[in-house]
């Protein structure tokens, strides 16, 4: 009885946080979209869905998500194999390089691809080719983003599959390919499905990339919601679209949870270090070099071009775009503050969001440490929701709910960190929970028998063990907060932009200087995020969470 009371006490803050900043805004959106004067208006759903423009957006959203997912699997599955089975010099470095894009802000990725394939981009200079008016720019950017998702999810499992299973099949008379198809592929199936769903989910709700690379031609649901709200001020339509997206995302998340459960069934797993070997024969070397080439062209080149463009001033290479970041006057007059201020805003918001996410996520993880009944599993799943629910939904929800007393946060500095923390909490919980659950309960009992009060037990036994996980969680929450765009763009005050918001604004204006400054700001943002990630990679051990 007392244990349950303690649990509920720990959960009180996370529950209030989620009720106020997630459930309430989402409910308000549903209310705004589907009711009128207290009556349900389901007719609106059919009215919005009957609009050919909206249908086009919906169709494109599904199509590009499916195409991006297929393309990502095609490009990344060989990579997953290479990372799982081959041992080669520089593997650690290459693995880190592959992971960097995943934590990069969408805005940075958008500008990097603009610098590569857009007007005046590298391809334009070399061959006069431009892709930014085609859907290819969006698809390639999505592959860039999600390459790591596939390599980590599928490759992680693949590296632990016992190769002797395949050998057993070979001895029983199966050919090389037949052995792979009948033994390895079925074992990998659920992991591939989970990765594919993850990629589909991320690209289905893609916002920053499409906003920057899609131009006026291509628009996803997420971008359309933003447009309906910010440009046309058509809140009911935006709300209906949000509801549609919310339902779709819930379906995808449920499907994902199901595949994750299936992934854990009765596989023989071995230590990954034992399964990797040097490539043998021409075919394997070709595969390795092919993978390296793909990584260089698709993952490294856009970032290099971004950095190069940020130094390519009107009068040759120089730091002019960086030095002008500090003054508001040098930008055109619509930019109310110096772009460099956005860096300090971002860091301050990011720090505050990280602190909130750590407190909320940490309390939730502590309460969920002991596996419980259906209620606890439900709460566990509830905490995951913001990860999949689109950022624009959150930002839009904040906009229409937190604007009147008693919760009038419109002018509060805390509005942005609260929204960013909402996205950070799932990362904190997912990182901490496996580590906390791995602590042997009898260690806590041993400490209690020796005279440690429950609080001392937590401090003396749990904390030393989760310290590393806590740092990793903090790093992730910080990186995610720094890059957060979809929600922040709704609620950041014009005179207090974050880095991604400032980049998007600069890109939205004409002029060489604005473009160059956008590249310079994106480079800064990339350096901060990549730095955070690389620091985490050094801390990471095999047991620290799922991300």
């Amino acid at each position: 009885m007392r244990a349950t009371a303690v649990r509920m006490g720990l959960l009180a803050l996370p529950l209030v946080f989620f009720a106020l900043f997630f459930a309430y805004p989402v409910a308000a959106i549903v209310g705004r979209g589907l009711t009128d004067g207290g009556h349900w208006q389901f007719g609106r759903l059919t009215a919005v869905l009957g609009d050919p423009d909206i249908l086009h957006v919906l169709g494109f959203t599904l199509w590009q998500a499916a195409a991006s997912t297929g393309l990502t699997l095609l490009v990344a599955l060989p990579g997953a194999y290479v990372f799982a089975r081959f041992d080669f010099p520089g593997k650690q470095l290459l693995r880190a390089v592959v992971t960097v894009p995943f934590v990069l802000p969408t805005v940075v990725v958008g500008s990097a691809f603009l610098a590569l394939v857009g007007r005046g981009g590298l391809l334009d200079d070399l061959w006069g080719a431009r892709l930014d008016t085609t859907v290819w720019a969006i698809l390639l950017a999505h592959v860039f983003f999600n390459y790591a998702v596939v390599v980590r999810t599928v490759g992680g499992l693949w590296s632990q599959l016992d190769p002797r299973q395949e050998e057993a099949a070979r001895v029983l008379g199966a050919g090389r390919f037949a052995a792979w198809r009948r033994v390895t592929l079925p074992a990998l199936g659920p992991a591939v499905a989970a990765a594919a769903l993850m990629v589909f989910l991320f690209t289905f709700t893609s916002f920053g990339v499409v906003q920057i690379l899609g131009g006026p031609t291509f628009s996803t649901l997420e971008v359309e919601i933003y447009r309906q709200t910010a440009d046309f001020l058509d809140l009911p339509t935006a709300a209906v679209l949000t509801v549609i997206q919310f339902v779709a995302v819930l379906g995808l998340l449920a499907l994902h949870a199901w595949t994750v459960r299936r992934r854990e069934t009765t596989l023989r797993l071995v230590d990954a270090a034992r399964t990797a070997h040097r490539p043998r024969g021409g075919g394997q070397w070709a595969l390795l070099w092919g993978t390296v080439a793909v990584i260089v062209v698709l993952l490294v080149a856009p970032l290099v071009v971004l950095v190069v463009r940020s130094f390519a001033g009107p009068d040759g290479y120089g730091t002019v775009f960086y030095t002008t970041l500090g003054s508001a006057a040098s930008a055109d007059s619509t930019f109310a503050v110096a772009p460099l201020d956005a860096l300090w805003n971002s860091l301050a918001y990011g720090a505050a969001a990280t602190a909130i996410a750590l407190v909320v996520g940490g309390l939730a993880a502590a309460a969920l440490t002991r596996r419980g009944g259906r209620l606890m599993r439900g709460l566990d799943a509830l905490l995951m929701l913001p990860l999949g629910v689109s950022a624009v939904t959150v930002g839009f929800g904040f906009l229409i709910t937190l604007d009147k007393p008693p919760l009038d946060l419109r002018s509060s500095w805390w509005l942005v960190p609260l929204a960013q923390a909402l996205v950070g909490v799932p990362f904190v919980v997912r990182t901490m929970l496996p580590v906390l659950r791995a602590v042997d309960g009898r260690l806590r009992e041993a400490a209690a028998v020796l005279g440690a009060s429950p609080w001392r037990v937590w401090r003396e036994v749990d904390l030393p063990m989760v310290r590393r996980a806590l740092l990793i969680a903090a790093g992730f929450a910080f990186a995610v907060s720094l890059g957060e765009f979809g929600a922040t763009v709704f609620i950041a005050r014009p005179d207090h932009p974050t880095l991604p918001v400032a980049v998007a604004r600069l890109l939205g204006r004409a002029g060489e200087l604005n473009y160059g400054q956008a590249m310079a700001l994106s480079t800064l943002l990339m350096v901060v995020c990549a730095g955070a990630l690389l620091a985490l990679e050094r801390l990471r051990t095999d047991h620290s969470g799922e991300f």
Partner: protein, 382 residues
């Protein structure tokens, strides 16, 4: 409280006493892990709870430590009911089965943990740690990482850690369970000597009768959450109270019998019993040492089925002409060969009239799976 514990509580003041402690996992109606257990332990006494796994002995320790709440009954320590006292204020020590040393602290950090929790000064901590490490035979190990210790060394550190805060009651859960046989036999002697010197009150649980008999002043045999017998090691060994206890101790010569005066009628014929046994039907144990071999024409005629060398003696399995198989122990020199015909005579001192099995514990009459069964292995042992 039963009449016997009532009587004992009045004649001496127990350090720990349990009154009708009951624990059920899984709500009402579920079988009890502890079923109305009454137990008292005097200061400086070493009590060993002996029982097969699942008999509730670990739960007993957890209830006393406050790690498991009792569904009913009272736990009283030095006259104070512990119901509302949380684990960390009970002032008892518990040594876990697999030690549960804190992996991120070194040996000294582990041993000093309890002292730190009590707010002891740094100097006092250091002094106590050094003393205890000397005492358990690990001088100078203070700065070693616990991961680098062998099983026996970990066991010693765990003991030092449990002793450091001077608990009024020290509890040991299978203290030597994970160590190999030679080390166990040495450590159990060391432990008893140590507890005697320090005057520690000890409540230990184990499934190993050798460990229990070597360590304890008093042995408590548990069966299905209840107490089947308590007594000194000698009493329990010589006079097992029930068939369950007898079979748990490895005695398999148990048969139906009817006592009349100084003799009992059994499937093996008439067996002499000591004076004082109640007349009527009962279960009867003949300890193997009480089965004496005679020439075939002098006693119950038997055929030797198998012969197993046991170090100090030879265990024989005999098939009498009537009744179930009989186990006998004889000296190394005069053991007959399998197939040989012998006669058997029973010694009254080694015949024990057993009490009825504990109420509510059906199915305990069967052979104990943990005890060696000669019938199954006898053929290969020759």
């Amino acid at each position: 409280m039963t009449a016997t514990t009532m009587a004992r509580a009045t004649e001496r003041r127990d350090l720990l006493s349990l009154d009708g402690v009951t624990v059920r996992f899984g709500g009402h109606g579920a079988p009890a892990a502890l079923d109305a257990v009454d137990l008292g332990i005097a200061a400086h006494e070493i009590v060993c709870v002996l029982g097969p796994s699942g008999s509730g002995k670990s739960t007993l320790l957890r209830v006393v430590a406050g790690l498991q709440a009792a569904d009913s009954g009272r736990v009283v320590l030095e006259g104070r009911d512990q119901a509302r006292v949380p684990t960390h204020r009970r002032g008892v020590g518990l040594m876990f089965q697999d030690h549960q040393l804190f992996p991120q602290r070194d040996v000294a950090g582990n041993v000093a943990f309890g002292l730190r929790m009590r707010g002891a000064r740094r100097a006092e901590q250091d002094r106590t740690v050094a003393e205890l490490l000397d005492l358990v035979g690990l001088p100078g190990a203070a700065r070693r990482a616990v991961g680098s210790l062998s099983g026996g060394e970990q066991q010693r550190v765990a003991l030092a850690r449990a002793l450091a805060p001077s608990p009024r009651l020290l509890m040991l859960d299978e203290p030597l369970g994970q160590l190999d046989r030679g080390l166990r036999e040495r450590l159990v002697v060391e432990l008893r000597g140590l507890f005697r010197t320090l005057g520690t009150t000890v409540l230990a649980v184990t499934h190993d009768q050798g460990e229990a008999f070597a360590l304890a002043d008093r042995v408590v045999v548990m069966q299905n959450g209840g107490i089947a017998q308590t007594g000194t090691p000698l009493e329990v060994w010589q006079r097992p109270a029930t068939e369950f206890v007898a079979r748990f101790l490895g005695f398999d010569n148990v048969v139906e019998a009817t006592v009349r005066g100084r003799a009992a009628a059994t499937p093996w014929g008439t067996v002499p019993v000591l004076h004082g046994a109640e007349d009527g039907p009962c279960r009867l144990l003949v300890r193997p040492a009480g089965v004496r071999l005679t020439p075939p024409e002098d006693g119950l005629p038997c055929t030797v089925t198998s012969r197993t060398f046991r170090g100090t003696h030879v265990a024989l399995l005999l098939q009498p002409e009537q009744g179930p198989q009989l186990e006998a122990a004889c000296m190394l020199g005069d053991a007959p060969e399998p197939g040989q015909r012998v006669g058997v005579r029973f010694v009254p001192e080694d015949v024990v009239v057993l009490g009825a099995a504990r109420e509510g514990a059906p199915g305990d009459g069967g052979p104990n799976p943990g005890a060696p069964s000669l019938g199954a292995t006898g053929e290969q042992s020759e």
